[in-house]
């Protein structure tokens, strides 16, 4: 669709992006979204690993506390 009557192809190319370019833009945005979501998921996985470590050592602390408080 021309920008205005009498506009040259070059002028139209400047003001209107082709369908292919629009598709590429959408793809690019989708890729960025996917990358951000994957990164967030990765961060959550790594933080969960730290929390599991915290819980495991808490268990060890209680184990020693109970084991050493038992008088045989």
């Amino acid at each position: 669709m021309p920008l205005f009557s009498g506009a040259t192809n070059h002028e139209n190319r400047i003001y209107f992006r082709t369908k292919k370019q629009e598709g590429q833009d959408i793809m690019r945005i989708q890729m960025v979204k996917i990358n951000i979501l994957n990164s967030l998921r990765g961060m959550i996985v790594e933080c969960l690993y730290s929390i599991i470590l915290i819980l495991l050592t808490l268990f060890i602390a209680f184990f020693f506390h109970i084991a050493l408080s038992i008088n045989v």
């Binding site: 790594e46 933080c47 470590l53 050592t57 020693f64 506390h65």
Partner: protein
């Protein structure tokens, strides 16, 4: 041995000049911070440092050129020279601030920052300018990613064979085939964590009672110190200053993440999140954390210095993970290690510091991957012993991908581990020779050489200059994982004894 020619010196000078200019540009960040807070004397210090970097850096760029392609030897030499020169120049604004007893003390702190160690000789830290605090933490953050990684990201596009520079800095895993893209990915990971970590810490510190501006600055600095496993904090009491379990948990998660391999981060983020379950380095880290935690918690339970099991666990686990990831953040006083913790807990902390974090991360020490591989090699040897002589074994391990354990790989790993043990022993021996008690000397020597930064009180501005120099060397050697330093010594040997 061949005597180096003019082209070798010219190439080393050219690349070192680029890195010096990079350090100068970094000084603009603390200078800008000081401008914001009206700290004009600090601005002058940083602008002096900036000018010096530009004079030296541009001088090297003008009078030298990359006359040779970087080979392994040159790459390693450039890496070690760059770290040394960056320390000498980076110490200028710190020294000018007047908060150090001498230029050597300023160099000690800057090397401690770059190598993410965290030992400090700064005086009156609680009244330091925001600009100098920004500089200290920025050094730690940049040093964690690697000075060469910064240079690769911003100013070495188009130069050939820069991979040897990257390896010279103690990082030997490519995340992507192109080393420049690898350096960029390392920065993206670090900056992503920086955004989220600073956000959570700001709220936690604000809840602890600081103003919004101070909360933001402290959270940014705490993040830089924790992520880079440097352990620098803006207050002399370290993390104890905040008295907040929320801040302790957030920093703990940050330094555990910071101590993980960048290749693992990349794989978990973009390829396979389940890699975290299979990776040999993670398995090794989990096992060593649990074993050393058992030492520490058993020792604390027996000594009974903390009133409840939870307070004992809170102190013990935080110091242990801080030691294991070679961070150096502390929530107890340094004198407590030897005075109150007892030998078992103390041993647990020393073992954790010696082992350290992951390869290709911001952490120091032997590295968990090497410990895992040595254990796998031991298992293979035991299997060999109990099997018929004609049996053929192929030992595999999983790190990012399945890999075959070869004798050459084991030899390389053992060489680095033995070098670390030698460095730990040498640092300890020299402190003992200077009259310090053995237990304190072991603790501080391993802390410096493994780039941990926990202190039992030995490191102070009043300690002898010889120990300061030894610790500077230990931090430098430990961070570069020896190979770059061996290459530098070899290069110096070639200059002296080489034939034309």
């Amino acid at each position: 041995m061949f005597k180096p020619i003019r082209a070798d010196y010219s190439t080393i000078g050219f690349y070192s000049g680029k890195i010096v200019i990079g350090i100068g540009l970094l000084m603009l960040i603390p200078a800008f911070t000081s401008c914001l807070f009206g700290e004009w004397l600090a601005v002058l210090d940083f602008m002096t440092g900036f000018s010096l970097c530009f004079i030296i850096g541009l001088g090297l760029q003008i009078f030298t050129s990359p006359q040779k392609e970087i080979n392994w030897m040159l790459g390693m030499v450039i890496a070690s020279v760059s770290w040394f020169v960056s320390t000498c120049i980076g110490a200028v604004p710190s020294w000018l601030s007047g908060q150090y007893g001498s230029y050597l003390d300023a160099c000690f702190d800057v090397m401690s920052g770059y190598t993410t160690t965290g030992l400090i000789l700064i005086q009156n830290l609680n009244h330091t300018s925001n600009g100098l605090n920004m500089w200290r933490h920025l050094l730690s953050y940049v040093g964690g990613q690697g000075i060469i990684v910064v240079a690769l990201t911003f100013s070495m596009k188009g130069f050939a064979n820069t991979y040897s520079l990257y390896v010279g800095e103690g990082k030997d895993e490519r995340l992507l085939p192109n080393v420049i893209h690898t350096a960029r990915i390392i920065w993206i990971i670090s900056l992503a964590y920086m955004g989220i970590g600073t956000f959570f810490l700001t709220f936690a510190i604000r809840l602890a009672g600081m103003s919004w501006t101070r909360s933001f600055l402290h959270s940014l600095w705490l993040f830089m110190g924790a992520w880079s496993t440097g352990g620098f904090t803006p207050m002399s009491q370290n993390l104890m200053y905040y008295h907040s379990s929320v801040i302790e948990i957030i920093t703990l998660v940050i330094f555990v993440a910071g101590s993980l391999n960048f290749a693992l981060h990349f794989t978990v983020w973009h390829i396979n999140p389940k890699e975290i379950l299979d990776n040999l380095e993670i398995v090794s880290f989990t096992c060593t954390v649990l074993i050393t935690s058992a030492f520490v918690l058993l020792g604390l339970e027996r000594s009974g210095i903390y009133p409840t099991v939870l307070s004992s666990w809170r102190r013990g686990f935080y110091q242990l993970v801080s030691a294991h990831t070679t961070t150096g953040n502390m929530t107890i006083y340094g004198t407590t290690w030897i005075g109150n913790w007892g030998f078992i807990s103390y041993s647990g902390i020393i073992i954790a510091m010696a082992i350290g974090g992951s390869a290709c991360s911001t952490a120091g020490g032997f590295k968990n991957l090497r410990i895992g591989v040595i254990f796998a090699a031991l298992v293979e040897d035991i299997r060999r012993l109990i099997s018929p002589e004609s049996s053929v074994f192929v030992q595999r391990f999983h790190h990012i991908k399945d890999q075959v354990l070869t004798d050459k790989y084991i030899r390389m790993i053992m060489l680095i581990v033995l070098s670390y043990i030698g460095l730990y022993a040498a640092s300890t021996f020299i402190a003992v020779a200077e009259g310090y008690p053995f237990l304190e000397a072991v603790f501080e020597g391993i802390s410096a050489a493994s780039n941990t930064g926990l202190t039992c009180g030995l490191t102070s501005p009043s300690m002898p200059s010889l120990i300061k120099i030894v610790y500077i060397f230990a931090m430098w050697a430990g961070r570069l994982e020896f190979m770059a330093l061996f290459a530098l010594f070899g290069f110096i040997g070639c200059i002296i004894w080489g034939r034309k």
